[in-house]
């Protein structure tokens, strides 16, 4: 700053900044710096207090000192560096974030045994099998041995036959033999408890198996297990019948697909059908909506402009809520199943496509329109010759892009609505059928990767303006085109049936859907604490000498002091709150009560109440004796001020948690992706065989792992490190590494070689060249991609809670399942706000980076 504006004493702004962070800078006319420091400091302080990570107050205090020093240095006319401040901010932010998202790297190692079956099974999916028939030999055995030994209550098989002792003790090592089994085939030994349920027999922790010899005989040893719960032990001297079982699965017939594989194939069809149908129907609805959302078409007058804004806002709200959340909502409306999934996909597709379409309409070039108009063409001709040619390629390309997304989504929509491959995955995970699960996951990878490739190819052709069918003579081509149309129609009809579209369900479930919509629209923000006010009057029934108890309270009067059951009675109230729902009831001497009338009653605007009734016989419960009954009027009255509801507090906490989860996941993803991306960049790896191998290997791994949605990774992560935010963070990070890795390596491939050449010319070594010529070129694209990924992660982390990933999604699902729709609605609004504000901020940040 110019010397004349410097204050005499540089300690003054420093001291000010120490008291109110940033105020010193503000006074030194570094206004935005001051405000930024102020906001940053208090945001971090809030974070530390909220997460109760008080140890982080130390770096925060250092940050405060830094702010003071910054003010001092600015006052001295120096331009201080940001390095130390960024380090401290990062320390506090990531410290708190790691704490609340429960990132515990140790669990990655301790949980490894849990996740190993998943990884191993990915290498051995269930594809084909020989149909088998079980050959079973059983021999009863008594545990424990008693004298005399009672007869076993279970029969032994004769052929094949298992030979064992008549009785044994728990913990003994038992040798059995068998005969009449299938020669040279393996089998398994099982222990059958007294209830008849078999379990695998073990010895020294190993499962006991056997191979029958050429004559069909075998011997095996096993440990006699504790097969009866200790709490249900037989009395001394009593014995129970257990059994030893030997089972051989004998192949019969030819190799055939497993049941798993046929199920998976069926569900691949369902997945594709859902994606196809929701895309096609989405386009049908999105096209007209997109015209309403295009500013250049709607800007003509105030009314249309108002429609434009309403449509845009609605589209944005719908879009910012993840498809899976919509699936839960629609499942409440039309019931679980493919239809709910299709509706959710369709709904989100309409919103997303309408926005993309309208943007492409907004960007059309008015020149051709003018030119076609100038030839005297009609409006319709203008649309056909000037508008459609401009928007068709982008429309088609957006549609294909959305179809891609829908395929990915329909692989996971089954996690919340039993449809598609995701349903199989989650079902098999729950049943611990790992190799079946692996089959489904491999199917997902194949489906997504194949369609990625096909749609990429189609998109390229469409953008380049090449015809899809380019070979063959004209008649062949038109025949092919006809065939394509027929195939499209057939696919549509088939999908319609697979997706179990039942529009009637929409109407039947409409009341529920509407109630849901109403509650969602009115989030639960404030609650008012209330207390119950009661006034009562005595009414002995029948009349007689009895202690009537307390005299009548002020504001309630009865037309009789006492009476018999059935006598008319007029209850009047006064001085009550106006227009209030109150409850009028008989109170029995033992404190039980009964409403005078159901749905009674509302006070008049003057605050009075008149109820004409007859005395209820229940009041005279005691035979002949007068009972000291009472009549009371109760109502809820406000006590205290309106306050934020607990729901809002929960939602707020979970929203912050969700943001932090996304932050940690993005950071982790980027940290791993950056080094990998260099290895996956063609220009870095060169043409050597090793370089090519690494490049192709990494790219392939990236593409495969990218196909698995984070929601499926959560299932694995939850087993690995336990359900909770860390599982969510881990799943997102695992998904981000290949995603960012691919984007990063593509931007590495696009760097300018000129500066690299220039720096090399100066005699710099490879590392120096990297730091001075490559890194500066990569900072902006990398940051832009990281911000973009963070954006996606925020959206994703709102739903990964559905399957054990923590965050706001978990609570949302709980609320929906408890039918607490108002609370669920609050969560949805929080997500909308969160996604919008982050969209806005990241757009701003990206703008500044370019």
């Amino acid at each position: 700053m110019p010397p004349e504006r410097r204050p005499a004493n540089p300690w003054l702004p420093a001291l000010l900044s120490l008291i109110i962070p940033g105020s010193g800078q503000f006074l030194l006319r570094e206004r935005s710096r001051g405000i930024t420091l102020f906001l940053t400091f208090f945001a971090l302080l809030g974070l530390v207090l909220w997460t109760k990570t008080y140890a982080l107050l130390a770096p925060l205090a250092l940050f405060l000192l830094w702010i003071a020093r910054d003010a001092y240095q600015i006052a001295r006319g120096k331009q201080p560096r940001w390095g130390a401040a960024l380090l401290l901010i990062g320390l506090v932010l990531y410290g708190a974030a790691t704490f609340v998202t429960e990132v515990r790297p140790v669990r990655l190692i301790t949980g490894l045994p849990n996740v190993q079956p998943y990884l191993r099974s990915l290498l051995s999916p269930e594809l084909f099998e020989y149909p088998t028939e079980d050959l079973i030999g059983v021999a009863p055995i008594m545990v424990p041995c008693v004298d005399p030994l009672p007869e076993p209550n279970r029969e032994a098989t004769v052929s094949p036959r298992v030979i064992t002792l008549p009785c044994t003790e728990v913990g003994d090592v038992l040798t059995i033999s068998g005969e009449g089994f299938e020669p040279n085939a393996t089998g398994q030994v099982q222990w059958v408890d007294p209830l008849g349920s078999p379990r695998r027999a073990t010895l020294n922790g190993e499962v006991v198996t056997f191979v029958a010899d050429a004559d069909g005989r075998f011997t095996a040893t096993l440990l006699v297990p504790q097969a009866v719960p200790l709490t249900a032990q037989p009395d001394p001297g009593q014995t129970l019948t257990h059994a030893v079982r030997a089972v051989q699965a004998i192949p019969t017939g030819d190799l055939q697909p497993t049941q798993t594989l046929s199920l998976v194939i069926e569900k691949i069809g369902e997945t594709l059908a859902l994606a196809f149908l929701s895309t096609v129907l989405g386009v049908v609805f999105a096209v007209p909506v997109s015209f309403l959302a295009a500013r250049n078409l709607m800007g003509a007058n105030r009314l249309t402009l108002a429609i434009y804004y309403v449509v845009r806002t609605l589209l944005n709200i719908i879009r910012s809520i993840e498809t899976l959340m919509w699936a839960i909502v629609f499942a409440v409306w039309v019931g679980l199943g493919p239809f709910a999934g299709t509706l959710a996909l369709w709904f989100h597709t309409v919103a997303a496509l309408a926005k993309l379409y309208s943007e492409s309409i907004e960007s059309i070039d008015p020149g051709p329109i003018e030119a076609v108009r100038a030839t005297g063409a009609s409006w319709a001709q203008m649309v056909i010759y000037a508008v459609l040619p401009q928007i068709l390629p982008t429309f088609t390309s957006f549609t294909l892009y959305r179809f891609d997304i829908n395929v990915r989504l329909s692989t996971v929509i089954g996690l919340v609505s039993d449809a598609g491959l995701g349903f199989l995955v989650i079902q098999w995970v729950r049943l611990n059928r790992f190799s079946a699960m692996a089959t489904a996951i491999i199917a997902i990878i194949l489906v997504v990767a194949t369609l990625d490739f096909v749609s990429g190819w189609l998109r390229e052709r469409i953008i380049a303006g090449r015809p899809i069918i380019s070979r063959g003579s004209p008649p062949v081509r038109s025949a092919l085109r006809l065939l394509l149309v027929a195939a499209f129609v057939a696919a549509f009809v088939w999908s319609w049936r697979i997706a179990q579209i039942e529009p009637m369900e929409l109407i039947r479930g409409a009341p529920q859907g509407l109630a849901l919509a109403r509650e969602f629209a009115v989030p639960e923000i404030f609650t008012q604490p209330t207390t119950t006010q009661t006034i009562s009057a005595p009414l002995p029934v029948p009349c007689g000498a009895v202690d009537a108890g307390e005299p009548a309270d002020e504001g309630i009067a009865l037309s009789a002091e006492c009476g018999n059951p059935g006598d008319p009675l007029v209850i009047t109230g006064s001085g009550l709150p106006p227009n209030r729902q109150v409850s009028v009831r008989w109170v029995l001497p033992d404190g039980a009560f009964l409403r005078v009338r159901a749905g009674c009653c509302t006070t008049t605007p003057e605050g009075t109440l008149t109820v004409e009734t007859t005395i209820n016989p229940v009041v005279a419960s005691q035979e002949g004796q007068p009972a000291a009954g009472r009549v009371e009027i109760t109502y809820e009255d406000v006590a205290g001020r309106r306050q934020l509801s607990d729901t809002v507090r929960t939602v707020f906490n979970l929203s912050i948690l969700t943001l932090l989860m996304a932050l940690v996941a993005t950071t982790l993803g980027a940290l791993f992706a950056i080094p990998l991306s260099f290895l996956a960049a063609r220009n870095i790896m060169g043409d050597s065989p090793l370089g090519k191998t690494v490049y192709y290997g990494l790219r392939t791994i990236f593409n495969i792992t990218r196909s698995v949605e984070p929601l499926i990774l959560v299932l694995i992560a939850a087993t690995w490190v336990g359900a909770g935010p860390f599982a969510g963070v881990l799943a997102l990070a695992l998904n981000n590494i290949p995603n960012l890795g691919k984007l990063f390596s593509e931007s590495i491939e696009e760097i300018e070689t000129g500066p690299v050449e220039a720096v090399m010319t100066s005699g710099a070594n490879r590392l120096q060249t990297l730091v001075y010529a490559v890194v500066p070129q990569l900072v902006p694209p990398f940051l832009a991609f990281i911000i973009y990924q963070w954006d996606i992660n925020i959206r994703m982390s709102t739903v990964i809670g559905f399957v054990g990933g923590g965050g706001i999604g978990q609570q949302f699902r709980v609320w929906v399942s408890l039918s607490e729709y108002a609370a669920a609605g609050t969560a949805i609004w929080a997500i909308v706000i969160m996604v919008w504000s982050m969209d806005y901020l990241s757009a701003k940040a990206r703008e500044r980076l370019v």
Partner: protein, 257 residues
């Protein structure tokens, strides 16, 4: 003394960019290299500091065989050979000072340079280099905020930081407005005459060749077709280098020259 011996470059796609080119450059010369686009000028310059590996032949500089140097020797050699590029090749998002300092990377401690630390002496040198090309006031600007002519001056300042004995200039004025050409070439001339730096400069405009070069070599389809004084470059020779269709054009308005 720089000696180019039977230099040949065949690219992997089969393109022959240089065919058995041999010539010598004495210390202190300002050698212009002329020829059509694609005639091998850039390849020739890049083979000298081995940004491109020649297929055959040798480059001998002051008795040292550059083509046979191992990587660390090559870095040692490179730092004595400055280079100026047609597209300036600045790191656009880095500051002008940082760009100039990269010229020093061959001299400094590799570790500190990775952290962006340079000695006060080097920073002083950078300021001096920028002052020499007349843009010391732009030191803290980002490189892409500068005009083309200014960027090329940053490029020259960067080369100066290497304290080069030889300067390779690859079409240094081809991306600039013709009126700026003289300004840039005058800086090169200054380095050539004051600092006795040998300059090899590929050029397009014949009047620039006449004005600045002390010697000219001409390349046509990778072969050396002319080697002589600028004054020997007659219209007939010119057509031999550039082909029958070519016409001599001038960057300097006739009335100004």
């Amino acid at each position: 003394m720089l000696e180019i011996q039977n230099l040949t470059k065949v690219f992997p796609d089969g393109t022959v960019a240089l065919k058995d080119v041999s010539f010598r450059v004495a210390d202190g010369e300002f050698l212009a290299i002329i020829g059509l686009s694609g005639s091998g000028k850039s390849t020739l310059l890049r083979c000298i500091n081995r940004l491109i590996e020649p297929t055959a032949g040798a480059v001998i500089w002051n008795g040292q065989n550059i083509t046979a140097a191992n990587p660390s020797e090559l870095r040692e050699i490179r730092r004595q050979i400055g280079m100026v590029f047609q597209h300036f090749n600045l790191v656009k998002r880095s500051s002008v000072t940082t760009n100039v300092l990269t010229g020093r990377l061959g001299y400094v401690n590799p570790f500190w340079s990775l952290l962006g630390r340079f000695s006060a002496e080097d920073r002083q040198r950078a300021r001096a280099a920028l002052a020499r090309v007349g843009i010391e006031d732009k030191a803290d600007n980002r490189a892409d905020q500068l005009s083309g002519g200014q960027q090329q001056r940053v490029g020259i300042a960067r080369a100066l930081m290497q304290e080069p004995k030889l300067l390779l200039a690859d079409e240094p004025v081809a991306s600039l407005d013709p009126v700026l050409s003289h300004s840039i070439l005058r800086y090169l001339e200054l380095l050539n005459q004051q600092d006795h730096i040998t300059v090899l400069c590929s050029l397009h405009f014949l009047d620039l060749v006449h004005r600045y070069a002390t010697r000219v070599v001409g390349l046509k389809a990778g072969e050396l077709v002319f080697d002589g004084l600028p004054s020997e470059l007659t219209p007939a020779k010119f057509k031999e280098v550039y082909g029958e269709e070519a016409e001599m054009v001038s960057v300097t308005p006739q009335n100004a020259s």
